[in-house]
Symmetry: C2
Subunit: 536 residues, 2 copies
């Protein structure tokens, strides 16, 4: 293409009177012409005045396009000479100096892994593939198997294959969700407005890794009185939730490849984050006293033990004192870190609140995790951890290094909310409300299912586990219910080892209006009866 | 101890008239007595009525303590018989069935690693240990070496040893911080109040992994016009910032052990997160055209290439078009992922804004990262990524699985802020303000240092890189300045390979009131002159 033909090329392609301004069109046409070699490197482009005349546009229009193309390196202005097309074409010789491209087969290994996992045959704690309210409930799960997902790493494919976050996060009987419609949003909004009226720069910049100091004080105060946690504010690290807390502990205290004992069944997020932090989860079965500690496991101390001692997730038992003492003694002897996930103990309906495991430990082996997701609202994304005093500055620093913390403006509002008594008053009210809803759900279960189903985990929290007769297809129930608009999670999906899996449903009651519970559970019971021979 | 002596024991230890209520004291004394074997398992405790009489307290007081101890498993109530101390002592035989405790030496290997790193002798991109405004600026760095940090994993110790987050985040000349005092907080507060007046439950519960849809729309719109990013809202994933974006991409698309090319020097956070995601960073030197692509490196394609093509961090060059085209062609041929970190391109002071690398890519190999930390305020913790359309649902899901996203209540405010024009108006105003401050700082540098220092990276962003003569101890300057209350970061600390490191200072000017710049830089110049022979 010559200088003249550049004018012709542009005259042919410019769309006059269209939506795109002439200067942007000119820029784009020249750029694309250069990129696709229609306009060759080294060619001199017409002077702005001449091109403007040829095209019948203002000279400014051409200047704009040339300036942009010069700034981006498509054109080169040579002083006193003119403007030329720069030579920016990739040197093919350099490219082919590289090793041959990775064969596609290597990348699709991920697909194979997924297939193996879906069949439930991988050892060591892989969640079952087919679940409702998770991977299988939207198009993603299917797409992974289709080969379109072959771009994923095998660890990425594995992450997406398990039980996990649901695409629906609000509705009966979604477990783990508090009644956010009761959250005192007017109070929150008032406290928020107070801070924003004259917001301090310190509340808007990066955090120091540990969280806003008054919030750390408020959390420590709450934990000492409500959870018998043995701590000062210096030991509190504010995080964006339990996932981040787990990752921080795993990275800072564990090497890639270290073993972490987890409960079987357990929270899917714990398993996901542990694995993505490079640890190897070893699932240990749960009984009425919490995580079992079989001789065989005890012979090889892990680096971490992850437990939910106050309200085992998802089944609900409280870890017995004997097992707590054994666990702590074992951890002290073998330098094991015990990670206590105390996610919903503020809501306890029968008997007095139970002290945390951390409060029983005298050897600084426990990392205590908590969250405001259940007490306030999940979308807040504020959790916290209590770590041994000597480690706290390191956790703070690692938190800043890994996650670049901030949101002190939100921490400040929460600190006021706690310090002015709104937190404890809200928890008190919700405890009463949820107890009422729990009782209503228990009654509905008895009415609909009689003795066919067992109820566990109903002493505390926001959900109960409904056990169904052995052999029941809980995944099918959950899927059928979902089609009626009722959200549950199949219990079997929480197990790492399909051989241990017991069927049932996780039912959250906290966010369901009391008066709707009987009718909604009656609906769900239809799907249960379709799978189980109910003797009511 | 007998039943009678339990009364005696309690009578001896109860503190009457003290701050702790009698029922809590009674609970704690019995619990501690059981835990330390002063009160033996199997012993029957006195009936509540008898003990209350012995101690001269109300029967309710004793009942409270017993109930709590029964609930927590210290005591057992045997129906029709009485209450006994439960046997909860760890079975020592079970404990000693375990392998001998990990020798302490294994754990302190971390200390050795740190020492090796501080000396800068580890190959493959370890940041230098001694830096100002980072590890060395508080007690943490020192404590790590002291052995108190031996509880850390070697990867944890390594994370804490590098250049990184500063404990001070606000003040002249801290790089990377916008002027948050100019943030239109009244507007933000008004938008916030509007949402909170009647907050929708969907804004308070967990997210769906991709972010609040109207915010994704708003971001896509901004990126298409301002950054020439080729995308729709479906490709936008909202994250809590660039650290999370990097971790997500690394986990989903890379295997542990995969190589990632990074610029040398580069942002410390990129290196930290890459490494903690299990990737191995390979630093490639930077010149005036951005990241160099030496033949030797090209021969072995990595899995990822991390670049800052619009404004190389920290030195500032724009990646040339020739190198952009080579990079994209190479990535397409070898299935490499290019991660474009476009952290501060909204602020460009000379010439037209430059198009993103993503917009030039026609093979869907680019993952584009952006953030509101520089345009609005860092503490907001909202960033975003643009991923190929086919991968977007997987990224959303992985985001939910790994990080349990939420904060739609905040996303909604930001979406309004953008859609109602406040975002672009704020960026426009700040661009003008920062340009003025930049000019002022450049003038001050000339006045104080003449030609002794070079300035780079001043075409865009919130900071410039001040180059100092070879051999200058920039760490010493930075430390001395810090004692005067002036924050800078030594340039040499950003290099992975000490052999390449060039001395200098990173100077953020955006958040420094214009009128203070000459005086503050004059102060800093004293510390520079103490290390450099200035020919002004």
């Amino acid at each position: 293409m010559s200088e003249v033909s550049i004018s012709d090329y542009l005259l042919t392609h410019l769309q006059r009177g269209g939506p795109v301004p002439m200067n942007r069109q000119l820029y784009a046409l020249l750029r694309d012409g250069i990129l696709n070699r229609a306009i060759q490197p080294g060619l001199q482009v017409p002077p702005t005045r001449a091109l403007a005349a040829d095209l019948g546009v203002s000279r400014n229009t051409v200047t704009y396009a040339y300036d942009q193309l010069i700034a981006e390196g498509y054109l080169e202005a040579r002083t006193g000479d003119g403007t030329y097309v720069a030579d920016t074409e990739p040197n093919m010789a350099r490219l082919s100096a590289a090793a041959p491209a990775r064969p596609k087969a290597t990348r699709s290994a991920a697909g194979t892994t997924v297939a193996r996992m879906a069949s439930g045959t991988v050892a060591g704690g892989v969640a079952r593939g087919a679940t409702t309210g998770s991977a299988a409930d939207d198009a993603v799960g299917a797409a992974i198997d289709s080969g379109a997902g072959s771009a994923l790493s095998s660890r990425g494919a594995r992450l997406l294959s398990g039980t996990g976050a649901s695409s629906a996060q609000w509705g009966a009987f979604m477990p783990g969700i508090p009644d956010i419609t009761r959250f005192p949003h007017a109070v929150w909004s008032k406290l928020q407005a107070r801070h924003w009226r004259r917001i301090a720069p310190a509340l808007l910049t990066y955090g120091d890794g540990a969280g806003y100091p008054p919030l750390r004080e408020a959390i420590a105060g709450h934990l000492r009185t409500a959870r018998a946690v043995n701590c000062t504010a210096d030991q509190v690290i504010v995080t964006s939730g339990t996932h981040q807390s787990i990752q921080l502990a795993a990275t800072l205290l564990g090497e890639a490849g270290d073993t972490a004992w987890v409960e079987d069944p357990c929270y899917w997020g714990t398993r996901n984050v542990i694995r993505s932090s490079g640890l190897t989860p070893l699932p240990l079965p749960v009984d009425a006293e919490g995580m079992q500690l079989p001789e065989e496991a005890l012979r090889t101390p892990p680096r971490f033990i992850f437990v939910t001692p106050s309200h085992q997730y998802p089944l609900g038992p409280v870890m017995s004192l004997a097992r707590r003492r054994l666990l702590l003694e074992y951890a002290a002897r073998h330098n094991v870190w015990v990670v206590e996930d105390d996610y919903d103990s503020e809501f306890r309906y029968s008997g007095p609140p139970l002290a945390s495991l951390q409060g029983l430990d005298s050897n600084e082996r426990v990392i205590y995790l908590g969250t405001f997701s259940k007490t306030l609202f999940p979308g807040l994304r504020i959790g916290f951890m209590v770590v041994p005093a000597a480690l706290a500055p390191r956790f703070a620093r690692a938190n800043a290094e890994l996650f670049r913390d901030g949101q002190s403006f939100l921490h400040a509002v929460l600190a006021d909310f706690i310090n002015e008594g709104h937190f404890s008053s809200h928890v008190r009210k919700m405890r009463q409300l949820y107890a009422e809803r729990l009782a209503c759900l228990q009654a509905a279960i008895r009415v609909e299912l009689g003795d066919t189903a067992t109820i566990s985990g109903s002493d505390a929290g926001l959900h109960l586990a409904l056990g169904l007769p052995a052999g029941t297809n809980d995944v099918a129930i959950s899927q059928a219910a979902r089609e009626r608009g009722i959200l549950t999670r199949p219990l079997s999906a929480y197990y790492a080892d399909p051989a241990n899996a017991k069927p049932g449903l996780m039912l959250g009651y906290a966010a369901v209006p009391t008066e709707n519970i009987p009718m909604l559970f009656a609906e769900l019971a239809k799907d249960i009866r379709a799978q189980v021979n109910v003797c009511a």
